[in-house]
């Protein structure tokens, strides 16, 4: 039911873990539906994502989408990263089973939340 690329990311997930003093952290999902994703990002002065890590509780699709998005965004500006959609993440993996498209395909949402928290922090700094 999963593509080879999904299984490859599930078996060898990239960038698992967390970033201490991350510039942004985003978490989506809940225990009721059975998927929780947390993404950590670190950016440089030009707002380019230098490091990204994740932790995920969930099925094969949840883990693979989290893993592949970390590869997709590394080296990108936060603006470019905000353009990434859940659909693109699924496409990057060669597609996901239909029933996984809505419940387990949340990595872009988690990433966007992480960026939002980063932007929020930067605003706070400016006003200080």
């Amino acid at each position: 039911m999963y593509t080879e690329k999904v299984m490859e990311h599930f078996t060898n997930p990239r960038n698992v873990g967390e970033i201490e003093n991350a510039d942004g952290v985003g978490e989506v999902g809940n225990m009721k539906c059975g998927d929780i994703m947390r993404i950590y990002i670190k950016v440089n002065d030009d707002n380019i994502i230098e490091d990204v890590k994740f932790r995920t509780f969930g099925c094969g699709a949840a883990i693979a989408t989290s893993s592949v998005i970390t590869e997709m965004v590394k080296g990108k500006t936060i603006e470019e990263a905000l353009d990434i959609t859940n659909k693109q993440v699924a496409e990057e993996l060669g597609g996901l089973p239909e029933n996984k498209m809505h419940c387990s395909n949340l990595a872009a949402d988690a990433l966007h939340k992480a960026i939002d928290s980063l932007v929020e922090k930067q605003k706070e700094k400016k006003t200080k």
Binding site: G34, I36, F57, C59
Partner: protein, 386 residues
């Protein structure tokens, strides 16, 4: 790679003896059992012999056996057929919170047609209380449907006692025995049931064939329409090779059922004891009143489908009650009915053992699983913030 099949509650491998019994019915014996000529007559003979075998295996009379396409159809026919036949008498049906969807959804369908359904809750072991069933009975109750053994957690229900009460009150009593046949002794008189559903592929028979036991005198209406096969309760030309396979399979399944159960329980307990040594792992279901081949655990902080995928990569086949594997957004209704929280339900794993499994295979699972759990936990945000 080593392959270990521990999903016998999903289906079993066809027994070679069963295949050999079926084989002539594909080519030489291809007549329609309803035909008058010799081609039909010789097939009819095999079909009726198979009916006798099924009847004998569960302590019934041959004319009380209706061949169907499997467990789902048998459950549907039992519930719908019984309700429709008695709708003038009453409109109340009692069932439990842990039934198979073939029962639950059949009851839901009745609800839409004006029937009232009482769903009896279960305790933390997945057990229905006889008293709860008794107290739910009203003068409108026409049918009680409680499964013999649960497909997910293996809990064996007090069916004989419930059946006794139903009989005293003159209420039709159905039991879904799909998971029980071949694992524990099943006798319709001891269980006091009027209707009993079974499915061949759960006991090394072919897929797509099953039977409904209908006690003599039980009021039942057919749910499909056509010819006069199976006393018009299940019209349509019988799946002859399947029915022959069912007969052979059930004959073999009930032979030495007690000694097979002893062997299976020993393997089951070895697996349970080993799994419970892992941190934050708990057993779901009753410790002793459970099917001899059923193991169901919850692994905290990880999700079931990722456990299954990881075990599959190591050649181990099992299943889970997580939402991802149930085909819906919710985890197993059985585990939730038992009071498990969502995390424990999503992190559930079911291993169901069969007679061909060995101690070495159980040990292989026990050697393999700790690394998998550790790896998934290391990725889990829930574990990290534990």
């Amino acid at each position: 790679m080593k392959k270990v099949y521990l999903d016998h509650a999903a289906t079993t491998q066809l027994n070679k003896e069963v295949f050999e019994a079926m084989n002539p019915y594909f080519f030489e014996l291809y007549g329609n059992p309803s035909s008058v000529h010799s081609f039909g007559r010789e097939v009819r003979k095999g079909l009726e012999e198979s009916r006798e075998k099924v009847a004998k295996a569960i302590g019934a009379q041959p004319r009380e056996i209706i061949f169907t396409s499997g467990g789902t159809e048998s459950d549907n026919l039992a519930i719908r057929g019984s309700a429709m036949a008695q709708r003038k008498k009453g409109n109340h049906v009692i069932t439990s919170a842990v039934e198979h969807h073939a029962v639950i959804d059949a009851c839901h369908a009745l609800k839409e047609e004006g029937f009232e359904i009482t769903v009896i809750p279960v305790d933390e072991h997945g057990m229905v209380s006889v008293k709860d069933v008794e107290e739910a009975i009203t003068d409108k109750t026409i049918l009680i449907s409680i499964m013999l053994a649960n497909n997910e957690v293996g809990t064996i229900q007090p069916v004989a006692e419930i059946g006794k009460i139903a009989r005293e009150k003159g209420i039709t009593f159905h039991t879904d025995a799909v998971q029980a046949i071949g694992n524990i002794p099943v006798n319709v008189d001891e269980l006091n049931c009027d209707l009993l559903a079974l499915s061949a592929h759960k006991f090394y028979g072919p897929k797509g064939v099953g039977a409904l036991y209908v006690r003599k005198g039980t009021r039942l209406k057919g749910c499909s329409f056509g010819g006069s096969q199976e006393r018009k309760l299940r019209p349509g030309t019988e799946n002859v090779p399947g029915v022959i396979g069912l007969g052979k399979a059930i004959e073999l399944a009930v032979k030495d059922v007690e000694s097979k159960a002893v062997k299976l329980s020993r393997l089951r307990d070895r697996l349970i004891d080993g799994l419970l040594k892992l941190p934050d792992v708990s057993l779901n279901g009753h410790r002793t009143k459970r099917l001899p081949g059923n193991v169901n655990i919850s692994v905290q902080y990880v999700e079931g489908e990722s456990l299954i995928l990881s075990l599959d990569l190591k050649g181990i086949a099992c299943s889970s009650g997580s939402a991802c594997t149930s085909g819906s957004l919710d985890p197993s209704h059985v585990l939730l009915a038992m009071g498990l929280d969502h995390q424990a339900a999503h992190g559930s794993l079911r291993f169901t053992l069969g007679v061909e499994n060995t101690e070495a295979e159980i040990d292989y699972v026990l050697e393999t699983i700790p690394g998998i759990v550790e790896r998934l936990r290391s990725m889990s945000p829930v574990y990290a913030s534990k």
